[in-house]
Assembly symmetry: C2
Homo-oligomer: 303 residues x 2
C-alpha cells in the first residue's frame, strides 16, 4: 500500500516567492486527503498532479486565514469540474457557516454535497475511519482552538504464500482465515501452522501533522513513534520571544518534541516569511534531533 | 510619465498550470492600480515585484469568484505587512457586505481602513480621478452586472524650455502659466509667444479592460482609440455556442470589437482552461485585427 505526503505549502501567515500557504496532501493507496487549505492550494494540487476526483476529505486544523482561504476557490473548481461525489470537511463548527455564507453569494447551489464534520478541538477524537486507515485529532496549543491530526494505517492481514495454497489445496473460503493468522487443517486432518502458510505484511505507516502550535508535551501521547512527524517551526531560536507571544514554535521546540516522541523522521515547516534562508532553522533542530528535514513546497515523502 | 500594464492572470474560471485567475496591475508613474483579484493575485503581485505599499486602489468588474477570491488573502497580507493607508475598492455594492462578513470571522478589526466605492454598473461613470489620471467604468454584457474600466491619463501641461527661462528671465511664479500655454510678457512689455517657450508633452496614454463580456458594440464609445485594449476571448470560434450560452466572447468577437474601436493594440485573454495551446485563438483574432497579442501571465505592456 502506498502512503505519501506532499507538502503543498510551507510558509506561515505570509506567502513568499517560493513558499505557498499551509496545505499537505496525503496519498494513501491513491485516495487523497488534504490537511488545511491556504490560498492557492488548488494551484499546488494541479502542479503536483493530485487527482481532484479522488480528493474527498479535507481536514482543517484551525480557522486562521492562511489555513482556509483556499477553500472557496477549491470548492468552486470542484463544481466547475462537474464533481458529484460528496466532499467531507472536518473542522471547527464555525467553518460551515462561514463558507456557506460566503459561497451563497456566488452559487445558488453547488452540484455536489459538502458534508461538514464537527471537531471538538478540546480533546482527542477519532475523526475518520475506514477499513485501512484511521485519523485522530488532538488538541494543539495556539491562540484559537486548533488541533493536529495523526493518520494511521490499520494493521494489515498477513500475506498468504501462493505456493502453499496450491501445495495444501487451501479452499478459497479458507483464505481469509489463514490471512487473519489461523492455522489450516487439511482434509486428512493435519494441522498446518499459520507461520508455514503466511508471512508478515508491511508495518502500518503513520503520519502526524502539528501546526500551528506552541511547544507542548501534551501532544506526545498522540504522536509517539510515528513514521513521519511534521511539526511547525515558525521561528528561529533567535526569535523565541516572538514565538511565545504568537503561540508558535521555534526550530528547537519542534526538535525537542521529536526527541521525546521518537518519530522515524521530523520535518519542520510553517516558516515565517522573515527568513529568506531557512538553513539556520534546520541546523538548530538537527542539534537536538538529527533526523530532521526542512520542508520545501513540492517535497514528497514516501513512508 | 510611465504607464504599464502587467497581466497577473489570464485564465478564465479555472486556473491552469501556467495561467492564474484574472488580475491586471497598472503602474502609472509608480502608483499601482489593480483590476480584479482572483485567487492567488497576492502571489503574482509578489512575483512581479509590485510595491504593496503603493497599491491603494482595486477595481472589481463583477462578483464572480474567479475575479474576487483573492481579496481576503490580499487584505490579510496588507494587514500583516503593517499597512496603515486606506485601501479603496470600487465594485458592485454587495462586495462590502460579502468581504466584511467573511473577514469578521478572522479579524476583530483591520489596522487600516477599507473604503468601498459603489459602482452603479448600469451606466458609465467617472469612478476615480486625480490630477493625472481618470478612470471610467462602462457596462459590459455578462450574466450578472459587470463593467469594464478605461484608464486615461489627463492631458499634460506643455514642457517649458529651460534655456528660454534663462534667456527671458521668466520668474518662477510665471512658469505654471507658461506651462498651461500662456504667452509671457517681459519686463520691457514684449510678448513672447508660448510656442517659443514650450514644446508639447507626450500624448496621454489610455488602457481599456473588457472582461467578462459577450460581444457588444455598446462598449465602443468608451474604448475608441485607446492605446491598449484588453478584451476577453474565453473561447475559440469553434466553441461559439458555448460563448453565447455563457455571455463570453470568442477570439474573433474580440477582434471585431477592436476593428471598430481602433486601439493601437489588442490583447486577448481570459482563456478557457479547455485550450492547452491558445495559438489558434490568436490566429482567429489576427485574421480580423492584425495588431493582436495573446495574453500570458507576467506579460508587461508599456504604453
Amino acid at each position: 500500500m502506498s502512503f505519501s505526503v506532499t507538502i503543498l505549502g510551507s510558509s506561515s501567515a505570509l506567502p513568499t516567492s517560493n513558499r505557498y500557504l499551509t496545505a499537505h496532501l496525503l496519498n494513501v493507496n491513491e485516495r487523497f486527503f488534504l490537511i488545511d487549505c491556504g490560498e492557492g492550494t488548488q494551484f499546488q494540487l494541479r502542479r503536483y498532479k493530485a487527482k481532484f476526483s479522488r480528493l474527498d476529505h479535507i481536514f482543517i486544523t484551525h480557522l486562521h486565514g492562511d489555513h482556509v482561504f483556499g477553500l472557496p476557490g477549491l470548492i468552486s473548481t470542484f463544481n466547475l469540474l462537474g464533481r458529484k461525489n460528496a466532499l467531507h470537511i472536518y473542522s471547527h463548527p464555525h467553518l460551515e457557516k462561514i463558507l456557506h455564507q460566503f459561497l451563497s453569494n456566488f452559487y445558488a447551489d453547488l452540484d455536489f454535497p459538502v458534508v461538514y464534520h464537527t471537531l471538538n478541538l478540546a480533546s482527542s477524537e477519532l475523526v475518520f475511519e475506514d477499513d485501512k486507515l484511521e485519523v485522530l485529532s488532538f488538541p494543539l496549543k495556539h491562540r484559537i482552538p486548533t488541533c493536529g491530526f495523526v493518520f494511521r494505517e490499520k494493521p494489515r492481514m498477513r500475506n498468504i504464500r501462493k505456493d502453499m495454497i496450491d501445495y495444501y489445496k487451501i479452499p478459497i473460503r479458507e483464505i481469509p482465515n489463514v490471512k487473519r493468522g489461523e492455522d489450516f487443517i487439511t482434509e486428512e486432518g493435519i494441522v498446518i501452522p499459520n507461520g508455514r502458510l503466511t508471512f508478515e505484511s508491511e508495518t502500518p505507516k503513520s503520519y502526524a501533522f502539528c501546526s500551528d502550535t506552541a511547544y507542548s508535551t501534551d501532544i506526545l501521547p498522540y504522536i509517539r513513534e510515528v513514521d513521519l512527524l511534521y511539526h511547525e517551526a515558525t521561528f528561529s531560536d533567535t526569535d523565541r520571544d516572538r514565538a511565545i507571544e504568537t503561540f508558535h514554535s521555534t526550530a528547537s521546540d519542534a526538535a525537542r518534541i521529536a526527541l521525546q516522541a521518537n518519530p522515524k523522521k521530523l520535518i519542520i515547516g510553517h516558516f515565517s516569511a522573515r527568513y529568506k534562508d531557512i538553513t539556520q532553522l534546520g541546523e538548530e533542530a538537527r542539534k537536538i534531533f538529527i533526523n530532521t528535514d526542512t520542508a520545501e513546497d513540492g517535497m514528497v515523502i514516501t513512508l
